[in-house]
């Protein structure tokens, strides 16, 4: 196919790291909110969902990048969805093989990874234009950013809502769990609090960058 020459990104540390902070899918791009709010009621669920999504991101990204020159744009969405659905099915079986309890806890949200907009967004915006290795590294970065964000929500919700972390009791018998935190509204509260923190840090960083010259960059 005759394609316009595209900007090919060189592999660098930023290819990976920007998924963690600058392009964090949850805290910056606000993508993938459905699993973020639904399965972040405990730390283990959050990490499992993050890892499952990372696997699908990396696997589908790699295959799409590898096949990018053979996929006509008229059939690209159909092609991407079939590829993504393939990796979701694999991860679905893998989780059942690892733990049925975990599979029951994650429920329908494993299958819903197919329509997670982080993955289709990455396929369209990155994997379909970049070489295999940068795509793989970028996907792993975005996946790690998603996993960290889910863990940030999941750990806070589990500690406040159940008084545990990874199932281990943190407080004495006198602790009264803040049950609303493990219910859907708790997901919104904790996400809102994290977004507030992230934006505050970002704005503080921007104000420092704009500070007049002559003032040391690390001055408080």
């Amino acid at each position: 196919m005759a394609e316009l020459p595209k900007h090919q990104e060189d592999l660098s540390l930023d290819t990976f790291v920007r998924g963690l902070w600058k392009e964090n899918p949850v805290f910056v791009m606000l993508l993938g909110m459905c699993p973020t709010l639904a399965v972040s009621n405990s730390a283990i669920n959050a990490i499992s969902m993050g890892l499952a999504t990372t696997f699908v991101l990396a696997g589908s990204g790699a295959l799409i990048s590898w096949l990018r020159n053979w996929i006509p744009k008229q059939v690209r969405i159909a092609s991407y969805i079939v590829i993504i659905a393939t990796f979701v099915t694999i991860v679905d079986y893998a989780i059942q093989a690892i733990s049925l309890d975990l599979y029951a806890a994650l429920g329908a949200f494993i299958q819903l990874i197919v329509v997670n907009c982080i993955i289709l967004g990455r396929a369209e915006a990155y994997a379909s234009q970049q070489r295999l290795v940068p795509t793989l590294v970028n996907s792993l970065g975005i996946g790690a950013g998603f996993t960290i964000a889910l863990f940030a929500l999941g750990s806070v919700r589990e500690i406040l809502g159940s008084g545990t972390l990874f199932g281990l009791h943190l407080f004495g018998a006198g602790f009264q769990p803040w049950v609303v935190m493990v219910l859907p509204p708790g997901g919104f509260f904790v996400l809102g609090a994290w977004l507030l923190l992230f934006n505050w840090i970002k704005q503080r960083g921007e104000r420092r960058a704009d500070a007049p010259t002559g003032v040391p960059a690390n001055a408080r």
């Binding site: 196919m1 096949l67 006509p72 099915t89 893998a94 093989a97 049950v179 219910l183």
Partner: protein, 235 residues
């Protein structure tokens, strides 16, 4: 309408993508997808089957204390049939102690709770014709309210000697198991609801009733098959 006001330079029509290229791509991707999915399925199938077996066994041994072996039976119209011979139907699990004595029969029931179905495994004791234990297999009840069914000692007391006696014909329970308002239990076939979690408690009552109504008549009729199972069954 005419196009005489058009000021933009006419654009060259885009290159037509050959039909073959589109078919080739979608066909090829579907082939790769099929291979990967079948490979993953075949590889994980025995592991998942083993996980399910272990999970069921653990649940049965937990609900029937003292049990060390179990035999699976299927509820059919003709009575109980040993599982695994192509018979379709609901499974019940006869559990035996180390001396091959029948300790109890684990039966499954489902009731609709506040947030969805509640699936419960009950320990049915054929000798006393009653339910003597329970374990919730799956539920989505509200944490802090509905999930008290698993932890509330007063509620669990209901399920330690829940009457499930059959009528004279042996076809149904004399008194259906029901959940009653908190604090108003007067008969051994009633379950005292948890205050604040009435709908979840009702689900437990419905689950116990459906499980016992379906399984108890067959168990009592074919009790000989269950007690003889370990001596004649496959090992």
């Amino acid at each position: 309408m005419t196009n005489d006001v058009q000021v933009e330079a006419p654009q060259a029509p885009p290159d037509a993508t050959p039909t073959f290229a589109m078919l080739r791509t979608l066909g090829g991707i579907s082939l790769i997808s099929g291979l990967l999915v079948v490979l993953a399925y075949q590889f994980t199938l025995p592991i998942i089957a083993e996980n399910q077996r272990v999970r069921t066994e653990q649940a049965v041994f937990r609900v029937v204390p003292g049990a060390v072996t179990k035999r699976d039976f299927v509820l059919t119209d003709a009575g109980l049939a040993p599982a695994g011979e192509g018979v379709q139907g609901e499974l019940i699990y006869a559990a035996y102690d180390a001396a091959d004595q029948l300790k109890g029969v684990a039966i499954t029931g489902v009731g609709n709770g506040y947030a969805g179905p509640v699936t419960v495994l009950f320990n049915y004791d054929p000798a006393c014709q009653c339910i003597v234990g329970s374990k919730i297999l799956q539920m989505t009840e509200t944490p802090g309210f509905g999930d008290k069914m698993e932890t509330d000692p007063a509620f669990l007391e209901n399920l330690k000697a829940l009457d499930a006696k059959l009528n004279a014909d042996g076809t149904a329970l004399i008194n259906p198991i029901v959940t009653v308002k908190n604090g108003s239990k007067t008969h051994p076939w009633q379950i005292d609801a948890i205050s604040g979690a009435t709908l979840s408690s009702n689900a437990m009552g419905k689950a116990a009733n459906t499980a016992a109504q379906r399984a108890a008549p067959a168990i009592q009729r074919d009790l000989a098959k269950l007690t003889a199972a370990n001596h004649t069954g496959q090992d």
